[in-house]
Amino acid sequence: MSDHSFVRTEMLDSQAPPMMEGSVLGWIRYNLFSGPLNSLLTILSGLLVVYLLASILPWVFLSSWTATSLRECREVIPLTYGEGTTGACWAVIRERYLQLFYGFYPKELYWRVNLTFVLMLIALAPILFPKLPRQMLYFSGVYPFLGYWLLWGGTIWTPFLTLAGLIVGYLVFNFLNERRGLLIGTIVGTLLIIFWFLLGVIPVAVFLSENVTPLAIEIVESEQFGGFTLSVIIGATGIAASLPIGILLALGRKSDLLIVKSLCVGFIEFIRGVPLITLLFVASTLLNYFLPPGTNFDIILRVVIMVTLFASAYMAEVIRGGLAALPKGQYEAGDALGLDYWKSMRLIVLPQALKISIPGIVSTFIGLFKDTTLVSIIGLLDPIGLSRAIRSDTAWNGIVWELYAFVAAVFFVFCFAMSRYSIYLEKKLETGHR
């Protein structure tokens, strides 16, 4: 037998991968031209994109930043860029952006709005990013009162005394909670705070500012607020307040206590059944009927209360979904450890339920922030109300795209940032087993 066997002694060079695998070409082949229908779709949508860009980009860039009226824009742009060009008139933004951001807030006091906004970011930081030192949370707690003082001005004693009242009320609650039980602690603490707010704060603040030291800065009236400042004030306050109220409502709706449960269900279903605009009508016209004669409190505060109530009903439903998604074993585990209701909720149930409901919570926040624009219907000058005012100005009569595009872009940035943060948070808290 002759030796026919053949054993290769050296390795063959590895072959290049098929042209269609792992290359740009392959990607294009699979994602864009995998079949006749797909190719047609690609070509059509590609043409659409090209068409849109070809009509939008020249409009955006062949524009005028310096004109003082729409008419001037329309004259200047063809002169600069050649006959027949129709560019954007960004001049309206240049002229009015301060108004769109600050409303009619006094110009020399813009620093107060800016400072409040920066402080808000600092106060938010420890809540958003848990890596930061926990001591910063004290600042977050003080911030609402500081922000109120900075924005509206007046004496610092009012927000200070309000905060002090809250702290004293909390201490009393804690003291009684340990000795007399939760119920008495809550009742006495709440009543104390309410009486202090209704009767104590203002006289004492007046007394202190007249007799000790005023510590006051210039007062800015609510009518002067407007633009994105107003949207952010209403949105941020509503967001901050609606989460705790929503949690309480959701817990109430899930509880075994019949009366508490039916009160919560009634409230939630009522609020969810009516449009926000009717609640804002209540804020602007009816609230005067419901309050003691002679009370006339701030329109922004009234709107904030209504927006908060509205958002908290939706929040309650979102959180209820999270509570329902939690396995029953978790509740039972809490009981088995001998924790009382609040401890088991705080330590076991809520952290998990809130984690599940993050996407819903954040989209409620986004919805709330977008809904702040509705205040323009009851006459507050938020960005949309201001746009209407600008459009009725003779110089800018007939301007549409530039103004609304700007307002929309700012809203987009805020809302998009929020939704991205929610995705980040979801990823971070993802423990792999739900």
């Binding site: 690609t42 009522f270 605009i277 009927y289 323009s376 219907i377 746009s387 929309a408 809302c415």
Partner: protein
């Protein structure tokens, strides 16, 4: 138990405090709470009315006209939003990269900008960029009617051809409150009868298929049953279209859709479609991949897999949030007041309120109406949901 009593007591205290305040305030203003104002003449006109209404009609009737207008825009919006939303949601899952990205852009842009801005913006664009009626005039007009001279799109609104019947049946008055065209009623009856018969045909075919294994050819008959009788009816009634014509400064004749309605409709549908698209996408993704693979291994083609395996399962996930989107759209339609569309917020909560000065009654009634609509929609949709829900044994 103690907690409950305390909560109830607190709630009662709050309510009685509010009521006593209200009574006191109303007394100082010299107003009472009563609803007779609803039966006084409204003395204002409404620019879009489907039922007979004049400024001599009562406030109640004005509210009713507004309610119908609300429902019109809500129904139109829900339909277009659903169609758009489903298309976008499915296309967002497409393998085609460009298409998927375009749809993502659509969703993000509409979702992250307030709906009020979209409504006001659409209205402004319609007014500023559509041709004026005057440009349709002359030998060489700048703008022309669309669709064989039957549709006029102007910055004052859109005019569609109007159906007329040369030997129509006339109107019928219902309880003397409003009138309904008998021609429309006849048309709808014939149409629904056709659909009913077509469904019977389908069931028969299904039965035959189950017993013999062969599906008889029924789809031509099914289409014929639905389409042919209405056409015959229209022919008998002498159906023809009345086209809008330019007379004086404006178009006359035809169905006149106001810009406010169109702006509201477009803005609400596009805005809601972004949310519906996300719901549809999530619903389809929620069906596990094994289901698709199982269907393929059974030899089903992709189209059948979608229809028989994926969609029925996805619908269960899709429908509950879809209901709440419909509710949101209906509630958002109350923003009509910002573009001057006379929905119920504009009539009852707007002009009636301002004319009679009855804030309390008007706004509470308005809220009640919306509560009713919301509960109605959720009842209908929940019923539908229970029919597609998984039947657990």
């Amino acid at each position: 138990m103690t907690i409950q009593i305390v909560a109830l007591a607190g709630f009662m205290l709050l309510i009685s405090w509010l009521i006593s305040n209200t009574i006191q305030n109303l007394e100082t203003l010299g107003k009472g709470v009563e609803l007779w104002f609803l039966f006084e003449p409204s003395s204002y006109d409404i620019n879009q009315k489907l039922i007979e209404y004049s400024s001599r009609s009562t406030h109640l009737r004005a509210a009713f006209v507004g309610l119908i207008n609300t429902l019109i825009v809500a129904v139109l919006g829900c339909i277009t939003a659903t169609v758009l939303g489903i298309a976008i949601g499915i296309l967002r899952l497409s393998n085609n990269w460009i298409v998927a990205k375009i749809m993502t852009c659509w969703v993000e842009i509409f979702r992250n900008v307030p709906v009020l801005l979209w409504i006001v913006f659409t209205m402004a664009v319609l007014i500023e960029s559509l041709p004026r009626p005057a440009t349709f005039r002359g030998e060489n007009p700048e703008s022309s009617l669309l669709f064989w001279d039957s549709v006029a799109i102007t910055n004052r609104g859109t005019y569609l051809p109007e159906p007329f019947f040369s030997n129509g049946l006339g109107d019928i008055s219902i309880f003397g409150i409003f009138e309904v065209s008998l021609d429309l009623v006849a048309f709808l009856i014939v149409l629904f009868a056709g659909i009913f018969v077509s469904n019977i045909l389908k069931k028969r075919a299904d039965k035959t298929q189950q017993t013999t294994g062969h599906r008889p050819l029924v789809w031509p008959y099914r289409i014929a049953v639905v389409v042919i009788p209405p056409i015959i009816l229209l022919y008998i009634l002498g159906f023809y279209l009345g086209k809008p014509e330019l007379k004086g400064f404006n178009f006359q004749g035809g169905i006149y859709l106001r810009n406010s309605l169109i702006a509201l409709w477009i803005a609400l549908s596009c805005y809601t479609s972004a949310f519906i698209a996300e719901i549809v996408r999530a619903g389809i993704l929620a069906v596990s991949k094994g289901q698709t693979e199982a269907a393929y291994s059974l030899g089903l083609r992709p189209g059948l897999t979608m229809n028989l395996i994926i969609l029925p399962q996805a619908l269960r996930v899709i429908i509950p949030p879809l209901i709440s989107q419909f509710l949101n759209l209906t509630k958002n339609s109350s923003l009509a007041i910002s573009v001057g569309y006379m929905d119920i917020t504009g009539t009852l909560g707007g002009i009636t309120l301002n004319q009679t000065g009855r804030e309390l009654e008007s706004i509470l009634l308005l809220m009640l109406v919306f509560l009713g609509i919301s509960l109605g929609i959720s009842a209908v949709m929940n019923w539908y949901n229970s029919t597609v829900k998984i039947k657990e044994r």
